[in-house]
Amino acid sequence: MVDHVGKVVLPGETLSDFKESEKTYKVILGPGLRQESDDIIVSKPGIVRFKEPNVYWVDSNQKRYVPVKGDSVIGIVTNKAGDVFRVDVGGSELATLSYLAFESATKRNRPDVKVGDIVFCKFVVANKDMEPELVCIDSNGKSGGLGVIGRDGGYMFQTSLNLVQKILNPDCVLLKLLGKRLSFEVAIGMNGRLWIKARSVSETIAIANAISASEYMSNEQIKEMCKRLLDALAGF
């Protein structure tokens, strides 16, 4: 199987020779791979990836976000219904966010969330048979950066799911380069939404456009673009 890694596969292909864990003799299959009796069949077109010791998955270009447990996402509050907020995360259905799932929220002390606000939150339930559920706290009840964002400015925009994964990759230089010269805050949701707040409106627009433009660029090209962008901004 090792020779499949990094290759393009198409749905229906059968893969073999997986590297198993030495202790358990097991293989972990991620998205895009599925087991049918004794065969491992590809179910999404994309590139096979492997992670030590025994994890395999297929990186594919998907546009619709599917909630995954543990993902941090940016959602838009669309409705208040009883004791939950209904949040649009770009998935097939609205996710719920309990008003108790905020830092220091109690039955009496409700969090200040309005319809139309954007929230940075995490999935605790993401399951094909159940309504997805979000929280804005970690297991210790702390916010850890989660919660309502964008109250005092900033801009949220939608990018592709792949771009988000790309800029979160430690190898990607984009945010580091931008961060060297500009000071800005950014929240990145795995659902393809990004929120950015820089010092001024024009800087925010510039950063947003730089991120959107970098989707199909190599690190070299990104460096070049950042240089031009920063020069242009300086001359603004």
Binding site: R151, G153, M156
Partner: protein, 309 residues
């Protein structure tokens, strides 16, 4: 089922507003700038694709000689069909009414004469310009994108030709305007219309050269729709299978058949001499609001995305 559109967050709304107050736009344009317009003609005559930024519209024209309506023997008929595919935006769905202004009244069709086919002649070219208003008309944007349209208080669509004649004007949305603001918009529209008319003329000239063919007049829908009609027996003696100099054939008829068609048309023409020269179609049919949607090109048909039956 209609798909849910992504709601617009307060954050985006506030940001776009503050950017507009700052005289900046997300795509780097100035408030009065138009997006890039690209006009491409199809291989077939009478089709055209126009792109304004990320908005794309395809227009196709076809013509046919038919008996006019009994009530209006000297008038031709014009059908306009606007289709908003659900592919274009998840919000579009049959039966919904987006604000699409289509402008194209006053079209005059010459009957086909002997060997010389006459292209569709058009009185004038109306071009539409959209203005978006923010903060009760304090800020004004030309040619808003879909996000800017979501944030705006209201918009005004001006249809105008290059002779500075306003052909349609519509203000929609929940906002209050002063007369001066309306007049200011119409002044800006004059400039934009001149620019776009120029652009279209250039595109047509290029196309004409590319085809190596004397074409005639053209006819426009919303600034983004450009339609051209070629009469049925247009290239009767030019031989089958070539449009101009390099265009592949769109005509899969043989000579004989073509001759037949042409003859038929001739007959029709002779029997209908009275209607000749002035098969005019006017957009104003008074109060004819029945759901028949045949000939009347009244404005509300144009506003309607659903198909005319």
């Amino acid at each position: 089922m209609k798909m849910r559109e992504t709601p617009l967050s307060n954050c985006e709304r506030d940001f776009i507003r503050s950017a507009i107050a700052d005289k900046k736009r997300l795509d780097g344009r100035q408030p009065y700038d138009y997006r890039k317009i690209k006009i491409t003609f199809g291989v077939d005559r009478g089709s055209c694709q126009v792109e304004i930024g990320e908005t794309r519209v395809l227009a196709q024209v076809s013509s046919e000689i038919t008996t006019p309506k009994q009530t209006r023997p000297s008038d031709g008929m014009l059908f306009i069909n606007v289709e908003l595919s659900p592919m274009a935006s998840p919000g579009f769905e049959v039966g919904r009414r987006p604000d699409v202004t289509v402008d194209g009244n006053e079209v005059k069709i010459h009957p086909v004469e002997e060997k010389d086919p006459l292209p569709l002649s058009v009185h004038h070219m109306p071009i539409c310009v959209t203005f978006a208003f923010y903060e009760q008309g304090k800020y004004l944007l030309v040619d808003p994108t879909d996000k800017e349209e979501k944030v705006m208080d209201g918009k005004m669509v001006v249809g105008m030709n290059k002779h500075r004649e306003i052909c349609s004007l519509q203000v929609t949305g929940q906002m209050l305007l002063l007369k001066d603001q309306v007049l200011r918009c119409s002044n800006i529209a004059v400039v934009k219309v001149t620019e776009i008319t120029e652009l279209i003329h250039n595109a047509l000239d290029n196309d004409r050269q590319a085809r190596g063919w004397e074409t005639g007049m053209q006819y426009f829908l919303v600034l983004s729709l450009l339609i051209r009609v070629s009469p049925v027996n247009e290239k009767k003696d030019k031989g089958v299978g070539s449009i101009g100099e390099g265009g592949p054939s769109a005509w899969e008829v043989d000579n004989e058949m073509e001759q037949e068609v042409a003859d038929e048309i001739q007959t029709v023409n002779k029997s209908d001499r009275s209607a000749e020269g002035n098969s005019r179609l006017s957009g104003n049919h008074g109060d004819d609001s029945e759901e028949e949607a045949t000939c009347t090109l009244s404005k509300d048909d144009l506003h309607n995305p659903t198909q005319l039956q």
